[in-house]
Amino acid sequence: MRDKILFVIGVAAILLLARDINAIIDLPEERNQGIIFKIIFFHVPMAITALTCSLVAFIASIGFLITKNFKFDAVAVAVTEVGLAFLAGNLITGSIWGRVAWGIWWAWDARLTSALVCWLLYAGYLMLRRAIEEPTQRATFAAIFSIFAFIDVPIVIFSIKWWRTQHPAPVFWGGGSMPKDWYALWAWNVLAMMLVGFVFTAVRLRQEEFQREIDSLRREAHAI
């Protein structure tokens, strides 16, 4: 039953994406930057999805610390991995955009820099998990770090923005603005991204639960 629902959502997400891409292709090109400006339809929704993943991870981590139920831990790791993937997508699309529009692969502008720092934060989360063998300890420590990381996200965004306000540098996306009639399409794409993220998370969640069962069976077998 669960698989069927997931399948339906997955198909819906793909159809939505396909429709959006079709519509995006038909849109006129932006004045200043040309066709590359359309990357905003993916670049920003990916960031929004990643931020949502960070919030869900935070809630799941608190949930685990309170209930000690491993379902919360599974959600935390699944959603963090998916969020990392989307954030990487955000960084890559941002880099491509910069290369095409301004000729440079990277600039230390506020948003890209914040995204990079957040990526490092949550990559640390995954590395921490890998360094701990015992499942209960791993879940507990990962949850604690996830809480620390989530608290840092707004501080990172604010402080890097303030740094760039004091020391201005070329802003990657200054100058282009999205025409108002594009907003609806953009919002649909945000939804499509979120749905894709949801499906990936659910699949990863399933895999995590299987892995836990295998681990405990293995321990049981070794004890005999």
Binding site: V117, Q137, I155
Partner: protein, 226 residues
């Protein structure tokens, strides 16, 4: 006031143990000197440029040297299973944490207060014009490093690749605090007072310190016992 006494007992114990062997503090100090030296080879800047980059340079030195000290914090308890004895003692986990954090703070400050004048000498920079403001920034920035470093030291004490995991986890979290400390330090070393603009960094540093101290004190029991 039993709590304060407990914190003081742990604080005194950590300091006494470290000062008797001086292993970590020697390593940290040597490392700070080497990094200062390496930077001078790498950049060879004019006095004007040095003042601009002083914040970044100093805090990179402080952060890396500090990591060497912070790693030892809970690791020193592993030797003879002393951590078990501390956890089973009738003191709150937060008292253990704060005692260690204060001890770390003193040790890291000691290294910084030696590195600062050496920086002035090696790079030929007069850094004392805004001395007390600079000290305030150093104190706030060091406490930020210390509080997250100590809690992560507790988190990583029993896991694989402990020495590597501590900086990997600690530095990204610290980036906002380090950024603020660097901006303020550069300005103060250059002799500019703390203006409207910079005061935002000061507020952010204070907020960072308060927030992470609170979160660490709340969560340390879970880190130690689970």
């Amino acid at each position: 006031m039993a709590y304060v006494q407990q914190v003081a007992t742990i604080f005194a114990k950590d300091l006494r143990a470290e000062l008797r062997t001086k292993e970590a503090i020697n390593a940290s100090l040597s490392f700070a000197l080497v990094v200062l030296l390496l930077f001078s080879f790498a950049f060879d800047p004019t006095e004007e440029t040095t003042r601009e980059i002083s914040g970044g340079l100093l805090w990179i030195v402080f952060a890396f040297a500090g990591t060497l000290l912070l790693n030892r914090s809970f690791a020193r308890e592993l030797g003879n299973d002393c951590l078990d004895a501390l956890i089973s003692a009738p003191i709150p986990g937060s008292a253990l944490f704060l005692g260690k954090a204060f001890a770390n703070f003193v040790l890291v400050m000691a290294v910084e207060l030696i590195a600062l004048p050496l920086f002035g000498i090696f790079y030929n920079v007069k850094w004392t014009s805004q001395f007390w403001e600079l000290m305030l920034v150093v104190v706030l920035g060091t406490w930020a490093m210390t509080v997250t470093g100590t809690i992560f030291s507790a988190l990583t004490v029993n896991i694989r690749l402990r020495e590597v995991m501590l900086p990997i986890l600690n530095f990204p979290i610290l980036i906002p605090a380090l950024l603020g400390a660097m901006q303020l330090t550069s300005a103060l070393v250059a002799g500019k007072p703390i203006t409207e603009d910079n005061s935002a960094w000061l507020k952010m540093l204070i907020g960072f310190d308060v927030m992470y101290t609170a979160v660490s004190v709340v969560l340390v029991e879970t880190v130690l016992v689970g």
